[in-house]
């Protein structure tokens, strides 16, 4: 295991977050991932290397191609990943509470 990188450093970069989202839906080759970005291929390779080193992505060799898939277990160690989901519900419930207080005073 390589401790040189940590997950927070990895997700601090918007391109790397975008890569994680792409790969989250299905396993992809480096070429297929790079095709989604305007960035030069070596730059994408560097991002993939960082994401792999911090174990957010896992590699699998299939013939000549290397496929990347997401390491969901590691992803969940990142609070930032689940926080927008929690925030979405918190916003909804705050609104629910405010609206219903209006109904309460109408009684």
């Amino acid at each position: 295991m390589n401790l040189r990188r940590d997950v927070f450093q990895a997700i601090a970069d918007p391109t790397r977050r975008a890569i994680l989202l792409l790969v989250a839906s299905h396993t992809m080759t480096a070429g297929a991932i790079a095709a989604n970005f305007d960035t030069a291929r070596p730059t994408v390779s560097k991002h993939l290397q960082i994401l792999t080193e911090c174990e957010l992505l896992e590699q699998k060799q299939n013939g000549r191609e290397i496929y990347y898939h997401i390491n969901a277990q590691k992803m969940k160690e990142v609070d930032a990943f689940i926080e927008p989901f929690r925030k979405m519900w918190d916003d909804r419930f705050n609104k629910l509470e405010a609206i219903m207080k209006g109904y309460q005073s109408k009684k």
Binding site: L21, F81, D90, D91, F93, L96, E97, M100, K101, Q104
Partner: protein, 160 residues
């Protein structure tokens, strides 16, 4: 500050639990989940307006919701069936996002009275698989990134 809404999504499981305490009597908390015009209000946000197309709050009932953007374009539709609908106690229903790969989820809402003026909602959500649950968890994270990208695009467009 303590977070009012808590999410418990245990590793490797295909379920999650959302809990929230409300500064509301249980009757009002239940009404917010049982009356279409109230559901529309709290499910709407600055980016999307929620509309209840169908709502039968009873055993063997069903519902359909729609969400539209500022231009009136449908962003998503969802639907489900209601298995249990017990006043001020419990709603058991399914939820499915139409034309999306997340499958059907089973949702159990338990309404709990804490005091005369406070109550608690316990939402137990079960997905078809652990992978599907994790995809749904990732959605708002993804939307946040897309929104940031769209905002950048809007700014770039104004510079053209």
């Amino acid at each position: 500050m303590e977070q009012k809404t808590k999410i418990n999504a245990e590793e490797g499981k295909q379920e999650l639990v959302i809990t929230r305490e409300f500064d509301l009597p249980i009757e009002l908390l239940f009404r917010a989940h049982a009356e279409p015009d109230i559901i529309e209000q709290w499910m709407s946000n600055p980016y999307a307006t929620a509309k209840v197309l169908k709502f039968e709050g009873k055993k063997h009932g069903s519902y359909q919701l729609e969400s539209t953007d500022a231009e009136g374009k449908v962003v998503f539709r969802s639907n489900g069936v209601i298995h249990e609908f017990i006043l001020n106690q419990k709603i058991t229903r399914t939820f499915e996002l139409e034309n999306a790969p997340y499958g059907v989820q089973l949702e159990v809402y338990e309404f709990e009275q804490l005091t005369d003026q406070t109550s608690k909602l316990n939402m137990h959500v079960i997905y078809e698989s652990g992978a599907k649950r994790d995809q749904v968890l990732a959605l708002p994270f993804a939307q946040g990134i897309n929104m940031a990208h769209n905002r950048i695009q809007e700014i770039l467009n104004t510079l053209k």
